[in-house]
């Protein structure tokens, strides 16, 4: 494991700027998640580090060594692809042993067998080793894909939405396992995802990326509580933060054009709040309810206690409780 340093890296494909001036340092043993929507440049960033793409400018250092011009094989990174990419003509064992059998490594066969079995146990696929890789369920295939990376001890594991093609239950399970394995091995991981839950639960730091630019990087808590702009604020939180014109409320700070109000920034009362809103719809999720409100023609979504007994058409009053403020360009304004 080692430190990975990305310095002012840019990459364009034709006229599309995929990554702009990306600088990021991933510390030894750290789990960093890059969070952003589809097409934000997350995958390109991973591919640049892996050496599958060459940056137009900037440099990449792994363990202090400049690898910007190196071939992927010489970089000592492991990659988990979104679409498993298991070799269909090989068995599970052969898939996992593939990297260890590379001409550059040439490990003794006994060591390879021991290592593959160890990782297979870790991922609960030890009974599947003799199966053809294609004769597995989606979850098992993804375990093999992760296992194929884990048999090596690279400087960094690069993971490109490895759980996105799994169903919700399996995704939840593998998320916990992956975090446990990362902690056990002390592995350095750069993990790309558009799923805020994955980023929040696994990462020690989250980088929010939008249109090829790294907007903000920090601990999940920092990013959630202290976003630098409205984009970042909208990335995290369920339901999504409500962005409302400041003009709807009185006594807002100077320069604030938009108010960002998450569920915890809104107090609902039957009366006596700052403004009143009408309940449009209530979505019952069991332990809690999503409340869709109409606030002067604007839609507001917040959480409500299922016991509150609110229904469509009810009028409630809202009180803001230390919300976030943004200026006309979406930048943060101090309260």
């Amino acid at each position: 494991m080692a430190e990975v340093e990305i310095n002012a890296v840019s990459k364009a494909f034709g006229k599309t700027q995929a990554v702009s001036d990306l600088s990021l340092t991933i510390g030894d043993g750290e789990f960093v998640a890059l969070l952003g929507p589809t097409g934000a440049g997350k995958t390109t960033a991973l591919r640049l580090i892996a050496g599958l793409e060459r940056p137009d400018s900037g440099s990449i250092r792994i363990d202090g060594r400049d690898v910007t011009g190196d071939a992927p094989a010489d970089r000592d990174v492991a990659f988990v692809f979104q679409q498993y990419s298991l070799y269909p003509h090989l068995t599970v064992f052969e898939n996992m042993a593939f990297a260890l059998r590379a001409p550059t490594r040439r490990l003794p066969e006994a060591d390879i067998r021991a290592k593959v079995q160890e990782v297979a146990r870790l991922l609960h696929i030890e009974t599947k080793l003799d199966n053809k890789a294609t004769h597995l369920s989606g979850g098992q295939m993804q375990r093999v894909a992760i296992g194929r990376a884990l048999v090596r001890s690279p400087s960094i594991y690069l993971m490109d939405e490895p759980l996105s093609s799994l169903d919700a239950k399996l995704r939840g399970e593998l998320r916990l396992e992956l975090k446990r394995i990362q902690v056990d091995l002390g592995a350095t991981i750069l993990y790309v995802t558009h799923d805020q839950t994955e980023a929040m639960t696994m990462a020690s730091r989250i980088g929010v990326i939008e249109a090829g630019r790294l907007m903000q990087i920090g601990s999940p808590r920092e990013i959630y509580e202290n976003p630098i702009n409205a984009h970042v604020a909208a990335r995290l939180g369920q339901p999504t933060i409500n962005l409302l014109p400041a003009a709807l409320f009185a006594g807002m700070p100077a320069g604030a054009e938009t108010i960002g109000a998450r569920t915890e920034h809104l107090t609902i009362a039957r009366g006596g709040g700052d403004v009143s809103a009408t309940v449009k719809r209530v979505e019952h999720l069991g332990d809690q309810s999503h409340l869709h409100l109409d606030l002067g023609g604007r839609s507001v979504v917040t959480l409500a206690d299922p016991e509150a007994g609110l229904g469509a058409g009810d009028v409630v009053s809202l009180r803001l409780n230390k919300p976030l403020f943004f200026d006309a360009k979406g930048g943060r304004v101090a309260a």
């Binding site: 050496g51 094989a73 070799y87 003509h89 294609t134 194929r148």
Partner: protein, 317 residues
């Protein structure tokens, strides 16, 4: 409500449709097989049975055609034949019944060997070059890629024989006339365009992530190509090889023009057999029957690779 005995999807053809389609296929197969079967039957007829009218379906099998194919014979007086010792083997005794003796082996075996070397040699070369260039066209940014691919395809837009005279003159000048190497290169150049186009389609379907994963895992691009791409392209390679082999094996016009004593292949040789001793259709049919064998064997050997779907499912699309 009536009970449903077999559940089948609406997109599946019904049993009647399937039976109808099946009988059409069988009918077509029978029609196309008749000439082949007739040739094989003729190979085992005597020359008289072969030209009898009405044609004989039932006849007394004879190996005379095969004997005449593999030997040359000379006519002798009955006195001379009687003066000889007992016949040397089956072919000698058949020849003596017609007042002839076996003079020596015919050229069929050397011509057949030429065909094997030239056809398989050019197939291996065309498939190897085709696979490499198809991979290049599929994976790299090649300048003028579309134009180059069109140019490669365009070489097949005219009948190859249209360039026969330039090739004849060229080959004579550089000494490739009537050589196996010359024929291998010629058939390779005709087949390589087909190979590039067919294989590019197959390689395009293999996701790049496989090679990328291998390259990250410590393999060079060429090693990744050999370890990961080739095994998955076997279906395409097998199909392409069969097409290339069939062309090179059956090619007649260039073989007539460019080869004679040294590198002649079987196709121009087989018709010549008929001239050696009259209307020897059984010998021609025997030569043709044996000529079919390598292609049939090759196709049967590669048949399992022609089934698609073996490699499906490891990458979600």
């Amino acid at each position: 409500m009536t009970s449903v005995t077999t559940a089948h999807s609406v997109v599946e053809p019904s049993a009647t449709t399937r039976r109808f389609a099946g009988s059409l296929v069988v009918l077509y197969a029978v029609i196309t097989m008749i000439p082949l079967v007739w040739i094989m039957l003729t190979a085992f007829k005597s020359p008289d049975d072969a030209i009898s009218y009405p044609p004989k379906v039932m006849f007394k099998p004879s190996l005379e055609g095969f004997c005449n194919l593999f030997t040359t014979r000379s006519r002798q007086t009955p006195e001379f034949i009687r003066s000889l010792g007992p016949p040397q083997g089956l072919c000698d005794s058949i020849a003596r019944e017609r007042n002839m003796v076996v003079a020596g082996p015919s050229n069929y075996v050397p011509r057949f060997v030429n065909s094997l070397i030239i056809a398989f040699g050019s197939t291996v070369l065309a498939v190897a070059l085709g696979t490499l260039s198809a991979y290049g066209f599929s994976r790299f940014r090649v300048p003028l890629k579309d134009d180059l691919l069109f140019f490669i395809l365009s070489t097949r837009m005219m009948p190859p024989i249209a360039v026969a005279i330039p090739i004849y003159l060229m080959y004579r000048t550089i000494g490739l006339s009537d050589t196996r190497l010359g024929m291998i290169l010629l058939y390779t150049s005709v087949n390589v365009s087909l190979a590039v186009w067919l294989l590019k389609g197959f390689i395009d379907e293999i996701p790049r992530e496989y090679e990328e994963a291998a390259m990250i895992d410590g393999y060079t691009r060429f090693q990744a190509f050999v370890k990961v791409v080739l095994p998955q392209a076997t279906t395409g390679i097998a199909a392409t090889a069969i097409f290339c082999l069939i062309f090179a094996w059956n090619e007649y016009a260039f073989a007539v023009l460019l080869t004679s004593g040294n590198a002649q292949t079987a196709p121009p040789f087989i018709p010549i057999i008929i001239g050696e001793g009259g209307q020897d259709w059984p010998a021609v049919a025997a030569g043709t029957t044996l000529f079919l064998v390598p292609i049939v064997v090759f196709t049967v050997l590669l048949r399992k690779h022609l089934l698609r779907g073996i490699t499906f499912g490891a990458v979600r699309k």
